[in-house]
Each structure stands twice: as C-alpha cells, then as structure tokens.
Symmetry: C2
Subunit: 274 residues, 2 copies
Amino acid sequence: MAHYGYFNGTIAPVDQLAVGISDLGLLRGYGLFDYFLTYNGRPFQWDWYWERFQNSASRMHLPLPLGKEEAYGILMKLLERSDLTDTAFRFVMTGGYSADSISVERPNLLILTEAIHPVPPIQYEKGIKVILDEYVREMAEVKSTDYKRVILMAEAIRAAGASDLLYQKGGEISELSRSNFFLVKSSRIVTPDRHILHGITRRTILKLAQRDFQVEERPVLLSELYDADEAFTTSSTKKVLPITQIGELTIGDGHVGPISRALLEQFNEFIEAW
Amino acid sequence: MAHYGYFNGTIAPVDQLAVGISDLGLLRGYGLFDYFLTYNGRPFQWDWYWERFQNSASRMHLPLPLGKEEAYGILMKLLERSDLTDTAFRFVMTGGYSADSISVERPNLLILTEAIHPVPPIQYEKGIKVILDEYVREMAEVKSTDYKRVILMAEAIRAAGASDLLYQKGGEISELSRSNFFLVKSSRIVTPDRHILHGITRRTILKLAQRDFQVEERPVLLSELYDADEAFTTSSTKKVLPITQIGELTIGDGHVGPISRALLEQFNEFIEAW
C-alpha cells in the first residue's frame, strides 16, 4: 500500500517525488500548504479548504495552476491509486523554479496522500500540557510553510513535558503552533479572532457549538486563563483536544471538562455522518 | 560548462539534483543558507563565512554533517569539476527528511555552484532607489531561508521603479532584503548594529573604512536619512552599491557620493589582491 502524490501534472508514489533545487520553497521559504482528511472516502469540508487555499495563494501572489474541479479529480484519483479508504491530503505550493533564486516564474504544486497520525487516546482522557511562547506568526491568516518556530522550540517543549506551544504576544493569546485555541468560561466558549489561521476544524466546531452554547470570537488575554473552566485546541488531526495545563498553570480542576467532551462527541458524530 | 553541486555526499550537475518531498525546508521552511563568491579561485573570506554558517546552524539546532576542512575540500572539487575560475557558492541546509513532517532527524546539506549575477554598471554610476517597508526579519542574525517578504513585495518594488526594500520598524532602520545598510554623515560612516544579518561584506567594509573614517555601529533612525550625505548597501554581489533615493526622499544631492565611491574602489582593490 503505497501513498501516491501529484506533482505538476504527474502522479507517482510519494517516495519517488522530488523537487529540483532551484525551488523557491526550498531556497527562500516561499511556499504555502494545506492539509485535510477524508472521512468515508470524501474530503472533509472540501469547499472550505479549497476556498482557504485559494485565499492563501492570492495573498502570496501565486496563480493557481488548476481549478477546483480538476483538483478534486486529482484527490479522487490519488485516493483510488493509493488503495486507501481514508487518507490525509497535503497541498504544497511554492514559488516554483527560479533562474535567479528570487523571482517567481511558475508555481510548483504538490498534492500528497499521507498516513493519518491520530492523537493517542490517553491525550483525550487526560488532556495535554502546552507551554506559553512569546511569538506571533507573520501573516498568520495565510497557511504558509513557515513553521520554523515550533521546530526551533522542539527541545523546550520536550523538556517541559509538553505537547505544543501556545503563542501569546503582549499578553494576547493567538493560537497553538498548528491548531486553534478555545477556552470555556461559565459555559461560554471563547476563541481568539485575530493573528490566527482560520482553521476549518475551528469553523466546524464554532458551527456545532452555536447550537448549545454562547460563543465569543474576540481577542483573548493571557489573564483570562486564570479563571477559565476548560481549554481545548482544534485541528484536523486533533479534533477537539483538551488542554489541562498551560505552563505552570492548571486549567480549571485539571481534568477534562464536560463541554470539551461534549464538543468532541458532537464532532465525532459529525464526521461519522460525513 | 555545467554547474556542479554537492548533496549529502554526492556530487552531480546542479540540474540533476533534487530533494525528496518530505524535506523540512520545503514543507516547513526550516532551512538556512549562506552565499559567497570566489576571487582568483579562492573562496572570499572563507573563515568568516564558515564561522557564520556554524553559528546559524547552532542557532537553528541543526548539527553540521561535516567539518570546515571537509567543506573546503568540497568547494575546491566543485570549482574544479565545474571548470570555472570563479563562481558563487550557495550552502543550503534544511531540517532534512522527516517521517512525521515536523521532527528533525538528520539535516540535508546542499552546496551549489552558481553563476554570478553582477550588478549592472549603471547602478554604480547612478545609485539605486529603494522603498521603505515596515518590517523586521525574525531571527535576523541567522541566515535562514526566510525571504518571503521580498518575494511578496516584488510587485510593489517594481511599481515604484525601485531595486529593493529598506526595512524599518518603529522608525528604526535595520537592513535591505538581502544586504546591509550604511549612511554617511559629515564624513562619519554609520550602520545599524541590531536586527540585522551580520554581513561578511559589511564586516570587510567596516575594516577597510576604519583606516580613513570614523565608523559608528549603532541603532539608526529613519529621521537620520533627512540629513545624510550619502547612503549605500553592501553584499557579496552588490559590493558597495550607492543608494540615491529612498522612497520619495533624495539622499544628499542625489548623486553618488565620494565616500561611497572611495569604499567601492578600496573593496575592488581588496578582492583583486585576494
């Protein structure tokens, strides 16, 4: 069972795909990406992902080499070729090959199938620990390939026995390194609305949560962590993952709270029926 | 006359070199580089470049896969194989191939020979125009592959009839997108000392300039542009390149000044004798 990928018109096993060394993603960090899963053989929230990928490309001034229907056709072909029921898809689009190592000529587009790495069940039962990091991502709303910070901080995360970083700048919380942040206070659900990547799982959760809870999208301060009842993070792979410790601070009573649990259940029902 | 490159132990023509798609430089922007020229067949300021590359690697927590002597041997082999008297060398070192698309295992190291792209002579005679950009590079002192900003701003630079960006943040000047900044005021030579890449050409120029001029390395404010007599930028390819216009502001009388000219001459003499 090989994973297949698409690169500028060609489909091949991913371990046979390679990018020439004049690529501006490699040489200059000029690249964007997206990542999503399929459920029951269907790309989850495809319309929203494509819309975001288009927006990111436009913000990076990169023309898309293919349209939505064509891209969907490639996804289906890759899924079939890889002989999988479900997969993770990764889009990577760079500034392409450049004769002078700086000017964009024509983007390079990769669409890859990848193994899904689910979160260990214990993390849903116990919640995770994250550590605060004074940082805000440049152009956070664009899903660029710029993830230097979390790789740079890998050792600090490990040393703290934590799973990830929670970015804050000047006392304002934005997001985790690859997922969004929520807190729960007196049954209200609060999530930052700026300096963040607008996650598709975040968007899905907000929609589900609005049926039962009051939801606030607004700037969130560090000081609000002190009287939060619950905290959690959302992403394609993490779904709704409880956060029970932030640095030295225990959130609520230190156990996974009922609202985090309820939202995870609702999300799991939603994807089962996708 | 092909350009040759080295990739993890193998030497091949650069157009045959390719990097697998799980590389963290490509997927996550986790890479660093360096760039220098040879003069008379000898790598210019090799000791300083190697020292900087080592420092960048250490700051990025990437172990160097080879030592200084071995690296120098590769440079000489590439130069010989490419059948060139002089060349540009580019080092690119990424986080390497990653099974989970985020963890560093073993860096990938590329050493490439490239054609030198000299600055058109007219720019030395007339000076260049740059435009101001409110920006400061993350980890500016590390020569990472993060050059998103200047690629993103390419259209704005072109539209202004300019050659490059001059970064400033909160009224403090740091550097151009790929070169250092100097100004001349009453025969004193002033250059920013923080939020910059410590350029090797900058270091060489400071050394040469100290023989004849008073030199100040310190924070430089935007307001100092208004009564500057001259301005110039330094890099491997630009050498000492006069800047005669910054946005709408003409520097001095708008012509290339005598000190910029003198430093360029001294630099050219220095490299001729290298």
